[in-house]
């Protein structure tokens, strides 16, 4: 390869001796131009979310005591620690902000970096875009280098944006930039992770999935480190834990940033080494040929197309459920340590069982969110077929529109429900194995009570695909809105009518003596209505052509 580049360079008359990095800057400029509109939403969301949180703090708690009370009541439920990290200091605006947004920011900054790197490496090779660029005067590692540097620049921009925006809102510089640093540091490290996974998978999708898996495992490990007794060391096993150890607002310790930076550099070097060991377009995980004959029909085709998502989410459901179950065992320890809880139990405001179930409810909500993602994904996967021109070919055969879409509808209805059942069963089982007194049937029942909300999410997606396919991504926004509202709405004292716009919020607690199922029934009916409208729309509308 080197020889080829050396031979090409004099022809173009730019440089006679090319290095592996020749042309990086030119490629970087090109990548920035391609990506400016794609990166902007990420930067804005990650940059502005903390400031919003910081600004509403003042209106949230009228006295410092209220904030302290919230901190104590959050302490009764380790689910919050598991999901968002420990709430160490809710007494200040900066501390409150750090607790509320740190995990989200870290997660999204990492995803931003992963998608950016994959887009310009593996996905570009796949689409043939890279071939055009690589035939110019560029060194062997120039494209990889430009992609990683672009992701690093974006990560640095996140740090600066978060820091400056928080300072403008009134924060001191130290916590502001510590929080920004935790986000940016994650971006740096995961740009490195994605650089490696881009060498491993032979498609952009595989590369993204591998990197996201690393992120997910890191998130789980740090969650366990935060909640299980004597397992703080788990925080030091992965980048997400390191970034958390910066502890913005409480410690502002920037030393873990060095670890993240070192990881970023080491992983990028590893990626470059791997890159010189593979051919253009090929991954180290090779793709094989397929069978010469097939027996697929519409049902099996749908199963085949969603197979990857089904097993991925299935594993996520069971893994998350099991891990969450483990955490349930630390509950009694927490109850004993927490004076607030002791009081609540002493005054019979709550039983230990109720507190435990409140914890489980929050975790089931996370599982439900994943179920919602799965359902929407199945529906939008169906639309991808149309978008990429395969639906046109399928529908040129004797196949009615409704018969074509039906397998997708069934899968979107059953898949998330099965996942929810498996996840909540795993949660209850692992909790019981670890010695907790949760009732398996109750937990699974509570989990299944969330299913109509998942149907509604999928039905919204199908409604959009049938009637307004151009804005189908709106289904994602709605799901995120529901999650944020249900998770944080009560903490932020959102009014009841607002909270009730989320189908997840209106799910009753099955332990209550007289649970109110009416809202769940409404959710189901609304989902059915949207489904029918979506199907009617799909049957009647023009097929979108490329």
């Amino acid at each position: 390869m080197n020889g080829a580049h050396a031979a090409r360079a004099p022809l173009s008359g730019i440089s006679v001796t090319g290095t592996p990095l020749t042309g990086t800057l030119a490629l970087l400029r090109h990548a920035v131009r391609l990506d400016r509109w794609k990166l902007l939403p990420w930067l804005l969301v990650i940059g502005i979310f903390p400031t919003v949180s910081y600004s509403v703090y003042g209106s949230l708690f009228s006295t410092p005591l209220e904030a302290k009370a919230l901190q104590l009541s959050l302490g009764t439920n380790p689910a919050f620690s598991l999901l968002f990290g420990p709430a160490t200091d809710l007494g200040t605006a900066a501390g409150f902000t750090a607790w509320r947004v740190q995990m989200f920011g870290m997660f999204f900054a990492a995803l931003m970096a992963v998608f950016t790197v994959t887009r310009h490496t593996r996905a570009a090779e796949e689409s043939g875009r890279a071939e055009l660029l690589d035939s110019g005067v560029v060194g062997r590692h120039a494209r990889l280098a430009s992609a990683v540097v672009l992701a690093w620049l974006a990560s640095a921009a996140v740090t600066v944006l978060v820091g400056v925006a928080l300072m403008v809102a009134g924060s001191a510089p130290a916590p502001a930039f510590a929080l920004g640093g935790a986000f940016g540091g994650m971006g740096l490290a995961f740009a490195g992770v994605a650089a490696v996974t881009a060498q491993l998978g032979s498609t952009g999708r595989t590369a993204n999935t591998l990197a996201a898996t690393v992120l997910g495992v890191g998130y789980l490990l740090r969650g366990l480190g935060d909640t299980l007794d004597d397992s703080r060391w788990l925080l030091w096993t992965n980048p997400m834990g390191w970034a958390e150890e910066i502890r913005p607002a409480s410690e502002n310790d920037l030393r873990p940033l060095l670890l993240l930076l070192a990881a970023a550099l080491a992983l990028t070097l590893l990626a470059a080494w791997l890159e010189s060991r593979r051919d253009f377009g090929a991954g180290l995980i090779a793709s094989r040929g397929g069978p010469a004959r097939g027996t697929l029909g519409t049902w099996r085709l749908t199963a085949r197309l969603n197979r990857g998502a089904f097993w991925t989410w299935g594993v996520v459901f069971v893994a998350l459920g099991s891990v969450y179950g483990l955490v349930a065992t630390t509950m009694s320890g927490i109850f004993n340590d927490n004076p607030f809880v002791k009081q609540m139990i002493a005054f019979r405001l709550a039983t230990e069982e109720q507190l435990l179930f409140a914890f489980v409810e929050v975790l089931l909500l996370v599982l439900a969110f994943i179920g919602g993602v799965f359902g929407i994904q199945v529906i939008l996967r169906f639309h991808t077929e149309e978008d990429e021109g395969r639906a046109e070919w399928m529908l040129s055969a004797p196949l009615a529109r409704l018969s074509y879409v039906m397998p997708t509808v069934v899968l979107a209805a059953l898949g998330p429900a099965v996942g929810m059942a498996a996840g909540s069963a795993a949660l209850a089982t692992s909790a019981r194995l670890a010695g907790s007194e949760l009732d398996t049937a109750q937990v699974v029942f509570q989990g299944l009570a969330e299913v109509p909300a998942l149907w509604l999410a999928a039905a919204v997606a199908l409604f959009l695909v049938g009637l307004a396919p151009r804005v189908r991504a709106g289904a994602w926004l709605l799901l995120v809105y529901w999650l944020l509202l249900t998770m944080f709405g009560p903490v932020l004292k959102a009014p009841d009518w607002l909270l009730s716009t989320s189908p997840f919020h209106v799910v009753p607690n099955v332990l209550e003596s007289n649970p109110d199922w009416l809202p769940v029934l409404w959710t189901t009916l609304l989902a059915a209505a949207l489904l029918l409208a979506g199907l009617a729309g799909y049957r009647r509308r023009d097929l979108m052509s490329r």
Binding site: S287, G290, T295, G297, G389, W393, S396, P398, D542
Partner: protein, 305 residues
């Protein structure tokens, strides 16, 4: 001959842009009908309406005596389609894709399938993402030709095929004709249409501007004449229908329409013609009559039809 496709006054617009503007088209049973026009003229839109993928705004459309929007399933048992830009499932092999389409239409001709894979030199075990553009096209061609459809709707089927494969394709289409099938072939490759089509429709801006067999089209198009004469060519200027007369010494060049051809020949023989080349208009000439003067309005007006 019965019509397998008959369209009158078809219109279709997407938002503000008018894709089809009163299109008429008729395909007879057992013929290859060439549907000729550049990209964006409305060919694919017409084909998609014939397949019930798009809904017509107005006009009447009949395919195999059915309504393409209403009778989708029954009609599609008798129609096979090759899209203009075939997109395959990245994870499915070509063989699986062919069999999927075959299964949807309730089975395919096994012998024909094997034969076609062989003649088109297509490896069915390759996964969708690894096929080249031409090979993706072949997958759809094999799927369509191994069905027992009466009507083949082909949207630029040879785009991406190399010249050898194009020849193979033409051969296979001729074979389909011997089996009594009808073919609607949209294309912008003139040579392909010229060699295959019994009749041709030229589409421009959503309208069919000319339709008929190549011979019919030629008969009312202009013939190019070049001759060497022993004396002057003065008599030629008076003949109606002669245009573009150029005299270079003893050589004359001109074009003449069908009505003026006989008179022109008389004049030439009266001037002692010693060499004569008469070129019938090629399809390219015919096509350019409608498209070549895209910029030049006046030329377009001078040549009605």
């Amino acid at each position: 001959m019965a019509a397998v496709v008959s369209i009158t006054g078809l219109t279709k617009s997407f938002g503000r842009s008018m894709a089809l503007d009163g299109l008429d088209l008729e395909v007879s049973e057992g013929e290859v009908h060439g549907f000729l026009g550049p990209n964006g003229a409305g060919k694919s839109t017409t084909l998609r309406i014939l397949l019930g993928l798009l809904r017509a705004d107005s006009g009447t459309v009949r395919v195999l005596d059915g309504d393409p929007w209403r009778d989708v399933v029954t009609l599609h048992r008798r129609i096979a389609y090759v899209p203009g830009d075939v997109s395959l499932w990245p994870g499915l092999s070509g063989g699986e894709a062919i069999d999927l389409l075959g299964r949807l239409r309730g089975g395919l001709d096994e012998r024909r399938r094997a034969e076609l894979l062989d003649t088109f030199e297509l490896d069915p075990t390759v996964r969708g993402h690894a096929y080249s553009k031409g090979n993706r096209q072949k997958v759809a061609i094999v799927a369509a030709l191994s069905s027992n459809a009466e009507l083949l709707i082909l949207d630029e089927p040879t785009s991406g095929l190399d010249p050898l494969m194009e020849a193979t394709f033409r051969q296979e289409i001729r074979r389909e004709l011997t089996l009594g099938r009808s073919v609607l072939l949209s294309s912008h490759i003139l040579a392909e249409v010229e060699s295959l089509a019994d009749r041709i429709s030229i589409i421009r801006r959503g309208k069919v501007v000319e339709t008929g067999s190549l011979e019919q089209m030629r008969s009312h198009a202009r013939t190019n004449v070049a001759a060497t004469l022993s004396d002057g060519a003065a008599g030629l200027t008076g003949i109606p229908g002669v245009e573009g007369l150029r005299i270079e010494g003893s050589r004359v060049h001109f074009s003449v329409d069908a009505g003026g051809l006989a008179a022109a020949m008389n004049v030439l023989s009266g001037h002692g013609v010693s060499a004569l080349t008469v070129t019938p208009p090629s399809l390219e000439d015919l096509f350019l009559q409608h498209y070549g003067e895209r910029g030049g309005q006046e030329q377009g007006q001078r040549r009605p039809q």
